[in-house]
Symmetry: C2
Subunit: 361 residues, 2 copies
């Protein structure tokens, strides 16, 4: 039967705890669906700084290269916050990984789960309408990687600069994936730009309009980034797929994640054009609750499900995990982040959540 | 007695209606406080495209140059939306005005007014805590004006680019104004950047830390733009002054305006180092309700108050206007945007709101 190699990078904070539950769930689906996974574990982020002096050691990168997919936990914490921003675990691990594997397509779904509307920071009538949005973020271009980037001059005239740059081919490939995603959903793509100010956005808009012609069943809308941050708050239900540049996607995906009020449920995937991907929860390393066994493992578990879907084309196994998660929540089992006095069951630990989900597969 | 020249640019949509009320209020304070204003009216935005073929005619620019301050309404509307983004009223009028007069300091206050918490799109327990934030946005630098900016190449390799660039002196002058604003408020400056990715942000952070040394009574925090959009939603009350680059300020100021749920109350000012300023409401031209006499004139009236304060140093007259606005709202007089079934009085027209405020001066 098929065997896939997975590089497991638990990282810092709650990463190792929630990763352990994701691996339990993966063990169960392997036996149920007749495939096998081989894991290799590697340090990344702060723990890699401590053990190897760098957030992304060569051995970790080599381990990822040998694998068919990367399952990533989370990185960062107060211990490494004194470092220069550039050397910190998040930046120092994620950007090189994205660049090295050319993971240009970042998908971050965000939705309000039924019954969890009350956790959304939105007004009750807005959260009651719910929303279900995917942010398609370009992840290897734009101002993150554009050259020149640097610093020059002295005194008052000293200046620092970054280049926002997009090539037609970069916009086209992420746009196509956005339209394809929309075809499997509510068939609306909203392209986020700042075409009233940025040349890169003007090209972005032109190319997206061009690509849209190949997807006549999908409605295309354009919105400026400033207005997008407002409309997301006022009426998130209007959006289906939001197509964003690297920087705007960074902002929009975090905003929509926060609007769900349940970041512990949100997975994400970053893909290259070979289907190789890095899978990680949307939330951070949550150092304040790390090591207590109380973190919500669902975002990590759903990230594992996305890995089965996108990198290994194991759609049934992916759905089995997603169904088990939905059932667990529907039956009223919640970790502390989503617990309320109305919950049917007492607050669940990380391990208990993992067991509920494993048992339902 | 002192005389000041004001260039009045009503613009499009609700601009002319709300401007009329602001001028009524200004007439009243002139007689009460013993100064005089001389107005010159000029076309700007869509109406200027229609009458002169360009959103910022030379005659309008000349009129602004002769004035001591510019009172701006709002520009844009569906009639001009078919134009290329670069030629549209908003961009074509605002960016050249900011650049020409070197209006580097944009202040946008946003707060939840007591009694109007229900209009905020935030969950009731969050809006009940209220917030009162000023966004200090750098307005003549960054990626809006940085060079090079353009397009190159052909086919799939065609690329478009913009340059985010900040000089030390640009960061320093806006940072000083942010700390000074904080000294008159709750003494917290939160500097928004993306120092984990952008060189310009790394310099931004360095300079802000340097400037902070001259304001030991003010607490300085740093936050990444992606986290800022989240924290604003989760807990806006934590912020006092938010110090932002041009692009990040565009996003943050709009987000916080939306979070108040009462954009019709929010004024703004853009200043240069001579105290010359452009004063405008935060909301847009609202073409859907234009010409009906129902728009809320308060943002325009409060913009006029800011003009008296910042450009003419007429603090008492400015406060008289602000007090009259607060009283009008406290007494339960609301235009349609803020009307609810619990209001004491029937819904008020634009002119009625203007009268209530004028009468209370
Ligand atoms: C850590 C940082 C460089 C990164 C980004 O800006 O892309 C993070 O915010 C994210 O969204 O994954
Ligand atoms: C119209 C546009 C160029 C402008 C900006 O981006 O600055 C507007 O959004 C604003 O915030 O005043």
């Amino acid at each position: 039967s098929a065997n896939y190699k997975v590089a497991v990078l638990p990282g810092d904070g709650i990463g190792p705890e929630v990763m352990a539950e994701a691996l339990k769930v993966l063990d169960k689906v392997q036996s149920e669906f007749g495939f096998s996974l081989t894991y290799s574990h590697h340090d990344v982020g702060g723990v890699a700084i401590d053990n190897h002096g760098t957030p992304l050691p060569a051995s970790t990168l080599a381990g990822c290269e040998e694998a068919d997919a990367v399952l990533f936990g989370s990185v960062g914490g107060p211990k490494w916050e004194h470092l220069a921003p550039n050397d910190q675990p998040e930046r120092g691990a994620l950007l090189p990984l994205r660049g090295h594997f050319k993971l240009f397509c970042n998908m971050r779904p965000a939705r309000i789960y039924q019954g969890l509307e009350g956790f959304s920071p939105l007004r009750a009538d807005i959260s009651a309408r719910g929303f279900d949005i995917v942010c398609m973020r370009e992840l290897t271009g734009g101002i993150y990687f554009g050259q020149p980037k640097g610093r020059e001059g002295e005194g008052a005239q000293e200046k620092a600069f970054d280049t926002e740059v997009y090539h037609r081919f970069e916009i086209e490939r992420i746009a196509r994936l956005a339209f394809e995603a929309a075809q499997g959903r509510r068939k609306i793509v909203t392209s986020v730009d700042k075409a009233n100010v940025l040349q890169a956005s003007i090209l972005w808009r032109e190319v997206v309009i061009e690509v849209a012609k190949d997807y006549p069943d999908v409605t295309l809308n354009h919105i400026y980034i400033d207005n997008a941050t407002m409309q997301l708050i006022k009426d998130p239900a209007q959006f289906d797929v939001m197509l964003c540049s690297n920087l705007f996607g960074d902002i929009i995906s975090d905003e929509m994640a926060m609007l769900t009020g349940s970041m512990g449920l949100l997975p994400s995937v970053s893909l290259n054009d070979q289907g190789f991907g890095l899978y990680e929860p949307a939330g951070g390393s949550a150092p304040d609750i790390a090591g207590k066994g109380i973190a919500n493992p669902i975002a990590q578990i759903l990230s594992a499900a996305l890995m089965l879907r996108y990198s290994f084309k194991l759609e049934e196994a992916a759905q089995a995990i997603e169904r088990a998660v939905s059932e667990t929540l529907a039956e009223g089992f919640f970790s502390g982040d989503l617990f309320s006095s109305e919950a049917k069951h007492p607050v669940q630990t990380t391990a208990q959540m993992g067991e509920h989900i494993t048992n339902r597969i």
